[in-house]
Amino acid sequence: MTGAPRRQGSYSLAARDRRFGYGLVAPAVIVLLAITAFPLIYNVWNSFHHVDYLFPATFGTFAGVHNYSELFTSGLFLPSLYRTIGFTAVSVAVELVIGMALALALNRRFRGRGVVRAAILIPWAVPTVVSGLLWKSMFDPQNGFVNFILLKLHLPLAHTTWLGQTWTAWGAILVADAWRNTPFMALLLLAGLQVIPRDVYEAAKIDGAGALQTFWRLTLPMLKPALMVALIFRTLSSFLIFDIIYSMTNGGPGNSTQVLAYLNWSAMFVGSNYGLAAAISVALMIMGLIIAAIYVTTFRTEQVQ
């Protein structure tokens, strides 16, 4: 009996604490719902409606699966999808290999480590569009460094218009993307490396393990969590590449470097068809979820074994 009022008092204290907490969290949650959940729902809605500013008569009317079927009949979606998947696979693989080498190097103690870290961080900090323009300038046929050095060394291809042909344009885009994003990959992997205790390596050394053996058997398995995070980050952002494409090729020559995010954007701002764009966005979100799910399940099952 005597405990009852006290308990009630502490209960109301907990309730007050909770109310206070909800008040604190509310602004962030409301803003984030407004810029993620709302667009998500609105996209799904728009993807089933005619939302084309060029056709005011049908604007806002139900379209069924018209927008989705247009993805396949227009002949632009599937090629963009294949290009995006191909670019993502190649760029992530390249950035993983170079990033790993860089992370392993930076994990050693040496003089000037801070300088090296700062030097590789600057390309990451430059706006993506700027890195695109920078490499467009490097690959310029007349004033670019690439053709300059090829000419000086009497190598072939010195008069290539790099951004004017499909495969060389993709090469230039890959260089720009890897230049900017490899440091990010390296830093995430480096953070994972630094968590691995040093005495584990000493034990391996005493057991006579070689450098390669140590890497495959020891470093890589212990790096798994960091590896998964780095790969999810990079794969999703590579899958959504836009700024570099816009600033270097505008999707050209022809449509040959048009990727999904670019197609999505031009459906809106070139075609003014927001229903079609919404269908592309929905497809992008689903594919993003699939990519994340693939990584999470792959790494989880490997961890169980």
Partner: protein
Amino acid sequence: MSTVSIASSRARLTRRRTRKAAGWSGFYLMLAIFVIVSLFPFYWIVITALKTQPEIAAGTSSLLPGHITWSNFSTILTQHVFVRSLVNSVIIALSTTILTVIVASLAGYGLARTQIRGKQLIQGFLLVAGFFPVIALVGPMFITYRKIGLLDNLGGLVISYFIYTLPLATWFLTSFFSQIPRELEEAAIVDGATRLQALRRVIVPVAVPGIFTVAILGFIFCWNDFLLALSFITSPSKYMAPLAIVNLGQSQYQTFYNLIDAAVVVITLPIALIVLLAQRRIISGLTAGSFR
């Protein structure tokens, strides 16, 4: 016999030493390549920015700048649209950053220190929001902004910029606040401070390093944006710097690389400075943010 074994062990030692030295020089060579590849494009941009248009038209023939001209810099720095876009970028990135720090501090404190229900749900939502594809919010936000008059409006742009900053900032500050000992604020509350006062006077000062990290990353992420400014902003007077730079020096017939590259130099310098000064904070924020 003993002299032979000493000699051979000495030879072994020097062999090992030379191999080790070779290993180190190979290592430094690799590092040098990384640093050169990272920084050389900036050098190329700088020397291109120091050339006149006729020199550019004649084609590049040297790795050295040769005849130096500052006219490209004076051209772009007197171009109203470009200077204005730099000012816009600074103002918008700073406003977004400040608002983000306030909103994320409140939410971070709520998640770290109160007994609200659904914490895991909210944290899961923050994680998913951090990966939300920005292109997917452009269409819905464009239509909505068009309806309510926030199109071509810098305030509308700030709202959309929260997608870059708020999920990471809230996540990071939640974990940062959780590590601060509870006794600190309890002492303040015993002294008669309200919890909000305790947050402001006790927690925030202790959390300055974390807040600083969040602020720098937020600023860089906003400064970096192109897609949202490209989609929502139409008046040149409201351009952000990356948007202005893309539209700069493009005529129908040629690209004026000397002007573009001068602008690239101008836009890169402040960011390079921030990176050099706050390298450790940036790295800790990026990596801590990734181990969610």
